[in-house]
């Protein structure tokens, strides 16, 4: 793991997803597959071996009809900062071959497919099931190879893959910015494919550290919460819902405990 930069706070890309707006339509899932050359196979109904960097879960309050409620929860990789937000994400800290890394410049957790040797320790470490193993050789039949994007390399059998916050889009944006002699990105210059596609506008993406970005304010919404806050994974994906049962679904609570509304933001300043 690289040493943290000590002079600047750095960018910290993240998302705020409004669960009350999410319709469960699946655009984000497919946008991600199309953007990132995610493979597919004949049967994808076994969700335990189906590669979906973005997966939309259905949450329910389990009350009897007609008091039943549901919400959809889109789950990309949380790009966990780990305890103290030091970059020791659950997965990064365990990968024996440094095939997944925490980028302190962006807060993005990378995945290096050609270095991963498929031990799956990172998957055991990730409580969000954000990581997917290539159990099969990816196959694009007929002319479907033509639809592959050169910006993201297709993965081979036997390696792990996951949401990258569309890192190639960041790189392309930075490249453009540098060509124009700029060092900073506007909010709109770097947006992920899922954010861009979402017809409900439920996903907001940006630099959590940048006051000019919408996520900076949204993350402090009184109804904002993160998944499994108590584990200290320090995710960069926040959710908002006006339903208490939804917020409570975000974490594990003992029966007598109250739902925690305010994320215990673990910041680290060095």
């Amino acid at each position: 793991m690289k040493k943290e930069s000590s002079h600047e706070p750095g960018r910290k890309y993240g998302m705020v997803i409004d669960l009350d707006k999410c319709t469960g339509c699946g655009s984000c899932m497919v946008a991600c597959m199309a953007e990132n050359n995610v493979s597919f196979k004949e049967d994808e109904s076994n969700k335990l071996d189906s590669i979906t960097w973005m997966r939309v879960y259905r949450l329910t309050n389990n009350k009897p009809f007609p008091e039943t409620e549901i919400r959809y929860l889109p789950r990309p990789c949380m790009h966990c900062g780990g305890k103290g937000d030091l970059g020791h994400s659950p997965c990064v800290s365990v990968c024996p071959a440094t095939a997944t890394d925490y980028d302190h410049k962006t807060g993005i957790v990378s995945q290096i497919y050609t270095r991963c040797f498929g031990c799956r320790y990172c998957m055991a470490a990730c409580p969000y099931h954000a990581r997917y193993f290539n159990w099969w050789d990816p196959i694009w039949p007929a002319d479907l190879k033509k639809s592959l994007s050169p910006n993201v390399s297709p993965r081979m059998r036997g390696v792990v893959e996951k949401c990258s916050f569309c890192f190639h889009r960041y790189q392309l944006a930075m490249e453009r910015a540098y060509n124009e002699d700029r060092r900073e990105l506007e909010e709109a210059e770097y947006q992920t494919a899922c954010t861009q596609a979402c017809p409900a506008g439920a996903i907001v993406f940006g630099d959590l550290n940048n006051p000019d970005h919408a996520v900076h304010t949204l993350k402090d919404h009184p109804n904002a919460f993160r998944l499994l806050e108590r584990l200290g994974t320090n995710p960069k994906v926040y959710y908002i819902s006006d339903r208490e049962w939804v917020r409570r679904s975000g974490d594990n609570y003992l029966n007598n405990e109250k739902t925690n509304t305010k994320p215990a933001v673990q910041e680290h300043h060095s």
Partner: protein, 413 residues
């Protein structure tokens, strides 16, 4: 037929009987290799693992064989470093069993990873923060040490020993064995510990996660301790099985008694630590993460019920410790054997639970428990090293002077 190779002064079964046994084992080994080749050529879709169950039978088998292979390092430590001389009568066997266990672990790992040809990246691009890196380094180094410890035993084969070079080499190596044993003990301590660390550091998996000191979770120490405690039990158990099969006494009772007593105290102290750890985990760590201890055991009473904890701690922990600590318990051959069996089951069960439950258990509230049953390929490749191990032990027993007391206990008329 092969009598020229059989150590002097001991009696072995007929070559025919031996060959028949080896044939059966070879068949099993081939079956296992067939499965392994399927996994290598077609990929891990040959298994029943999935994205939730990325660690499964194989990782358990790895942790388990290494735990029970712990008899080698611990007996070595007692014999060469602490200087308990009686143990020289079982140390050869302990080393061979340990060697088999570690070979098994290596082989299983080579099948388990998705890109076996990139396995060396773990050394090349090592991430020092990863417990698995520590495992890989210690495992390979300790396997080398075991190989070095095994070589002098090999060289004692009647025919090989006839070559002066090998005779001298064996002699020299024997002399240096204390150094290797010490190195091995040190490596193995870390190795066993880092395996404990593998699940213990997973702070995203409340069932496996343990607090600890520095970078080491408590499981780091518990694994080392439990391997030291239960490993010798496996050595003694396999030794007793060898006695049973060969139909003769190979090690004197005082050796068993000594190793059993030490094991008993080790298991006893381990149990104190394990129970303390369990209580702290159940009443402090877990609740702070939002889990009541019964959340782990309620969902699937059959696979993940509280019975498994009771079985591990009381029946396969406290009970064998009590038997082995008490003089009467050790004196009763049946009880003694039962205690070693329970201890071995206990440590394997511990590794099982630490691998399976964290995978099966949902952490996100809207996720569900996952069940898993290994495919035949997984079973075959797990049995493969077992059969291989039996072959190595049998060959060693037949052709090498493994047990110094055998002649004395079984005079050939």
């Amino acid at each position: 037929m092969d009598s020229a190779f059989i150590p002097k002064g001991v009696k072995r079964c007929s070559f025919g009987t031996f060959s028949l046994g080896m044939l059966v084992l070879t068949a099993i080994v081939f079956w296992g290799f067939y499965a392994a080749i399927l996994c290598w050529l077609k990929g891990l879709n040959q298994t029943n693992m999935n994205d939730s169950y990325g660690f499964a039978l194989w990782i358990w088998a790895d942790l388990a064989v290494i735990a029970i292979g712990g008899g080698a390092f611990f007996t070595g430590l007692l014999r060469y470093v602490i200087g308990l001389d009686e143990l020289k009568n079982i140390i050869n066997f302990a080393v061979i069993v340990g060697f088999c266990c570690y070979c098994s672990a290596m082989l299983i790992l080579a099948i388990d990873i998705g890109q076996p040809l990139r396995g060396w990246f773990i050394f090349w691009h090592a991430n020092v923060h990863s417990m698995l890196t520590e495992v890989a380094f210690c495992l390979s180094l300790y396997l080398s040490v075991l190989a070095i410890e095994y070589i002098p035993i090999l060289l004692e084969n009647r025919k090989i020993d006839e070559v002066p070079f090998f005779h001298n080499l064996g002699h020299t190596m024997h002399g240096a064995m204390a150094v290797f044993a010490a190195t091995g003990a040190f490596l193995s301590c870390f190795h066993q510990g880092s395996l404990g660390g593998v699940t213990g550091v997973l702070f995203g998996r409340p069932f496996g996660y343990r607090e600890g000191i520095f970078v080491w979770p408590w499981t780091f120490f518990l694994y080392t301790w439990s391997a030291a405690a239960c490993g010798p039990c496996f050595t003694m158990l396999t030794c007793k099985i060898t006695e049973k099969i060969s139909g003769k006494k190979l090690v004197k009772d005082n050796v068993y008694d000594l190793l059993g007593k030490i094991s008993g105290w080790m298991i006893g102290t381990y149990m104190v630590a394990k129970i303390a750890d369990t209580l702290y985990w159940a009443y402090v760590t877990s609740p702070s993460l939002g889990f009541a201890v019964m959340d782990y055991y309620n969902a699937h009473p059959l696979h993940h019920g509280i019975w498994i904890l009771i079985l591990e701690i009381v029946i396969c922990g406290v009970l064998p410790a009590m038997i082995l600590i008490s003089r009467k318990g050790r004196a009763n051959a049946t009880l003694f054997t039962l205690a070693t069996i329970l201890a071995v089951i206990g440590v394997c069960l511990n590794r099982w639970v630490m691998v399976m439950t964290p995978m099966a258990m949902p952490v996100m509230t809207f996720d569900s428990w996952v069940s898993y049953f290994p495919s035949w390929q997984e079973v075959a490749t797990t049995i493969l090293p077992l059969a291989g191990g039996i072959m190595i032990v049998s060959l060693s027993f037949r052709y090498l002077p493994v047990f110094p007391q055998e002649q004395e206990l079984n005079p050939v008329d």
